[in-house]
C-alpha cells in the first residue's frame, strides 16, 4: 500500500505549535514557564540559532508573565512577528498588556494552554478561559480574535493563520488551546506556508523627518477616546463579517447538532458516528474562531430547521451563552459540562444526547 503519510512528523501539540510559529517566520518570543505550556518556550529555546529559522532573532525568558507581555508589546511596536505562550494564571496577568496592545492596535499572537482553574487549579484540560479570551479579558472595550485548534496539525497550522490575521487587522490574536491538546501526539505534515510579509508602516522605529509615529492608548479628550473606541468597534465588526470560521460534520440532515471546540470536538465527532449507528441523526458544528463566533453558521442551521443543539464544553457553561445568542431563542439549547480536567467520553456524550431525545 502506498504510504499516504510519508515523511510525516510525530509531535505533541505544544511542539507542533512552536514549529508552526518558527516556520511562519516568528521573530521574537518572550515567555515564562507555566505548565502545561512550557514545551513551547523549551522548543523555541532549543531551536534558537538554527539557521533553518533565520527570522527568529529574539528568545527571552522573562522574569514574570507581566514582564513577558510588555516585552511583546515593545517588539511588536517595531513591526516584528512576536508571540508569547502561557496558561490560565499567566493569561490573567497578561490582560492589562493585551488591553494596551489592542488599544494601540499592535499585532501579536498569545497562546493560552487552558488548564484547570480558577486560582491555581490543576494541570488538567479545561475550557474555562473562554470568557476571558473572547469577551475581552482586560479592561476597556475591545475584542480579541480567538482561534481554537482541535488537533496537532491545527496546532502547527494556526500560528501562520494567527499572524496573518494579527497583521491584517493590527490586533492581538489569541490561540486558545488546552492541556490535553498540548500533550497529545499525532502525525502531521507541516503545510507549505508562503513567506508572509506584512505592512508595518505604522511601526515606531525612529521618526522620518517631521513625520513621527506615536503608539498610545491615552486619549484624554473625551470625544477623541470615543472616536478611537468606535474605530475599534467598527474594526471588530469588519472582522466579524469576514473572519468567522467553523467546520461542519454531518449537519446537512441532522436533527440534533453538537457544538464543541478543541478536544471536545474530537470526542463529539466520535459521538456523532456512534449516534448515527443507532439511527439518531446527529451532527457537529466545530467553531474554529471563538471570536468572531460563527453565528452565521449557527443561524443557518436554525434556518434549515435544526431544533436541538447540545453544547459540549469543559467549563460550567460559557460558549453555550454564545450559542443561545446566535440561535435567538428559536431552538432548544442544552449544555453538557465537565470541569476539573475531566473529559466527557464519546459514550457519555451519546448517553446525554439520547437522554435529551426522550
Amino acid at each position: 500500500m502506498e504510504s499516504v503519510t510519508a515523511a510525516r512528523d510525530f509531535l505533541k501539540g505544544n511542539e507542533a505549535l512552536a514549529y508552526g510559529a518558527l516556520k511562519t517566520g516568528l521573530n521574537a518570543f518572550f515567555g515564562y514557564p507555566i505548565t502545561p505550556s512550557s514545551e513551547i518556550p523549551e522548543t523555541l529555546a532549543a531551536e534558537y540559532g538554527n539557521p533553518q529559522y533565520p527570522g527568529f532573532k529574539v528568545f527571552l525568558q522573562a522574569a514574570s508573565e507581566i514582564e513577558a507581555i510588555n516585552m511583546v508589546i515593545g517588539a511588536a511596536a517595531t513591526g516584528a512577528k512576536v508571540m508569547a505562550a502561557t496558561s490560565g494564571p499567566g493569561f490573567s496577568l497578561k490582560q492589562e498588556g493585551i488591553s494596551y496592545a489592542a488599544a494601540m492596535e499592535l499585532p501579536m499572537v498569545i497562546v493560552d494552554v487552558n488548564r484547570g482553574g480558577p486560582g491555581l487549579g490543576n494541570l488538567g484540560p479545561e475550557q474555562t478561559d473562554y470568557f476571558q479570551a473572547t469577551k475581552g479579558g482586560g479592561h476597556g472595550g475591545y475584542r480579541n480574535i480567538v482561534l481554537a485548534p482541535s488537533s496537532v496539525p491545527e496546532m502547527a497550522a494556526f500560528p501562520a493563520l494567527a499572524f496573518s490575521l494579527a497583521f491584517k487587522y493590527r490586533s492581538p490574536v489569541i490561540i486558545l488551546t488546552d492541556a490535553f491538546l498540548g500533550q497529545l501526539k499525532e502525525d502531521l505534515m507541516f503545510p507549505e506556508v508562503p513567506a508572509q510579509e506584512f505592512d508595518t508602516s505604522w511601526a515606531t522605529t525612529g521618526a522620518r523627518g517631521p513625520e513621527r509615529h506615536i503608539l498610545s492608548s491615552m486619549h484624554l479628550d473625551l470625544p477623541e477616546l470615543s472616536r478611537h473606541s468606535e474605530h475599534l468597534r467598527s474594526k471588530f465588526e469588519g472582522i466579524d463579517r469576514a473572519e468567522q470560521r467553523s467546520e461542519k460534520f454531518q449537519t446537512d440532515d441532522a436533527d440534533v447538532v453538537l457544538v464543541a471546540y478543541g478536544i471536545c470536538a474530537r470526542l463529539a465527532q466520535r459521538a456523532v458516528g456512534m449516534l448515527r449507528e443507532k439511527g439518531i441523526r446527529a451532527g457537529l458544528l466545530r467553531p474554529i474562531t471563538l471570536s468572531p463566533f460563527p453565528r452565521g453558521e449557527l443561524a443557518a442551521l436554525v434556518e434549515r430547521g435544526v431544533q436541538n443543539f447540545i453544547v459540549v464544553e469543559l467549563n460550567t457553561g460559557q460558549m453555550v451563552d454564545d450559542v443561545r445568542l446566535a440561535t435567538g431563542g428559536r431552538a432548544r439549547i442544552a449544555s453538557m459540562q465537565r470541569v476539573g480536567g475531566l473529559l466527557p467520553s464519546p459514550l457519555d456524550i451519546v448517553h446525554q444526547v439520547e437522554a435529551m431525545s426522550r
Binding site: N70, M71, A77, L215
Partner: protein
C-alpha cells in the same frame, strides 16, 4: 522666556527634538527641566531619527507631546520591559524612558531590576520627588519618614510601611548596569536665598548626555534625578527647593554609583 528677547539673548530656543508645545508640568517642577535636557542631548547627538521614547505612567505620561521623536506608551511600571522588546528587535535604535518614583520603584520595581540585571542597552531617567504626583499626592516608595501625604496623613510611619527605597543603590548592587548616577536636579537656594545656583541643571545635562553615550556603547544607563513636587508637598516653590536640598537629598545623596565605561572622566 516670554517677552525677554529685548533684554536677553535667547539661548534656550526651539529644537527639532522639541515639539514646541507648552508643557503641562506644574510651575516649579523639574520635569520641564529634564525634558529640555533630554531634547538638547538628543539634538547634540544627532539621533532624533533613530530614537524611540517609551512613555511611562505618571506626570511623564505626556512626554511624547513635548519630545519630538517616535514614541510608544507603556503600561504603569512596564517601560523597562517594553524598552527591552524594542531594543532586542532593533539594537540600532536609541531607546529611553522617563519614569516617576511610583512607576519605577513601586509597581515597576521588578521590571526595572531585571532590565538592569540583564544589562539591556537602554536608558532610564527616574524623576524621584518622593510622592505620587499625577494621582494627587499619595505615598511613594521613596517618601521620606514622617512626610505627610494623602495616604500618610500623620506622616509616613516606617514601622508600618518600611523605610524609603533607594533605587540607585539597589541597581548599584547588580553586576550588569554600566552607568548609575544620582543628581540633585532642582535649583538650590544659597544661604541668603537671594540667589539660587543651577548646578543641578549643569550636572543633569552632563548626566543625560553620558547616559545616552553609555547606551550607544552597549550598556544599561540609569540616572535618578532627585526633584521637587511643590503642589503635592503642599509647599511653595521656594520651600520645595529647600526641602529637596535639606531633606530629600539627605535620604538620597547624589553620587556616581557605577561608571563601567568611565564616561564621567572623558
Amino acid at each position: 522666556m516670554i517677552g525677554a528677547e529685548g533684554h536677553y539673548e535667547v539661548k534656550l530656543g526651539p529644537l527639532p527634538t522639541l515639539t514646541g508645545k507648552p508643557t503641562h508640568y506644574c510651575a516649579g517642577c523639574e520635569h520641564g527641566t529634564l525634558t529640555r535636557l533630554i531634547a538638547s542631548a538628543l539634538h547634540e547627538l544627532g539621533v532624533r531619527e533613530r530614537t524611540v521614547l517609551v512613555d511611562s505612567v505618571g506626570c511623564s505620561v505626556l512626554a511624547h507631546e513635548y519630545l519630538n521623536t517616535d514614541a510608544i506608551q507603556a503600561p504603569h511600571g512596564r517601560a523597562p520591559a517594553v524598552m527591552t522588546g524594542i531594543k532586542r528587535m532593533r539594537p540600532d535604535l536609541l531607546v529611553f524612558a522617563v519614569q516617576g518614583d511610583g512607576d519605577a520603584v513601586s509597581i515597576g520595581l521588578s521590571e526595572l531590576i531585571y532590565a538592569a540585571n540583564r544589562g539591556e542597552p537602554i536608558t532610564i531617567f527616574l524623576v524621584n520627588n518622593g510622592i505620587y504626583g499625577m494621582t494627587g499626592g499619595q505615598m511613594a516608595p521613596t517618601t521620606p519618614a514622617g512626610m505627610i501625604t494623602m495616604t500618610t496623613p500623620h506622616g509616613r510611619d516606617i514601622a508600618t510601611t518600611g523605610p524609603p527605597l533607594d533605587a540607585s543603590k539597589l541597581l548599584a548592587t547588580l553586576e550588569a548596569p554600566a552607568y548609575v548616577k544620582r543628581v540633585l536636579l532642582p535649583v538650590t537656594p544659597t544661604p541668603s536665598a537671594d540667589f539660587y545656583n543651577a548646578r543641578g541643571s549643569m550636572e543633569g545635562a552632563r548626566s543625560v548626555r553620558n547616559a545616552f553615550r553609555v547606551q550607544e556603547k552597549g550598556g544599561f544607563s540609569f540616572v535618578e534625578f532627585v526633584s521637587t513636587c511643590n503642589v503635592n508637598w503642599k509647599m511653595s516653590i521656594l520651600q520645595s527647593k529647600h526641602y529637596a536640598t535639606e531633606v530629600l537629598a539627605k535620604v538620597f545623596p547624589p553620587g556616581l554609583f557605577k561608571d563601567k565605561f568611565g564616561v564621567e572622566k572623558g
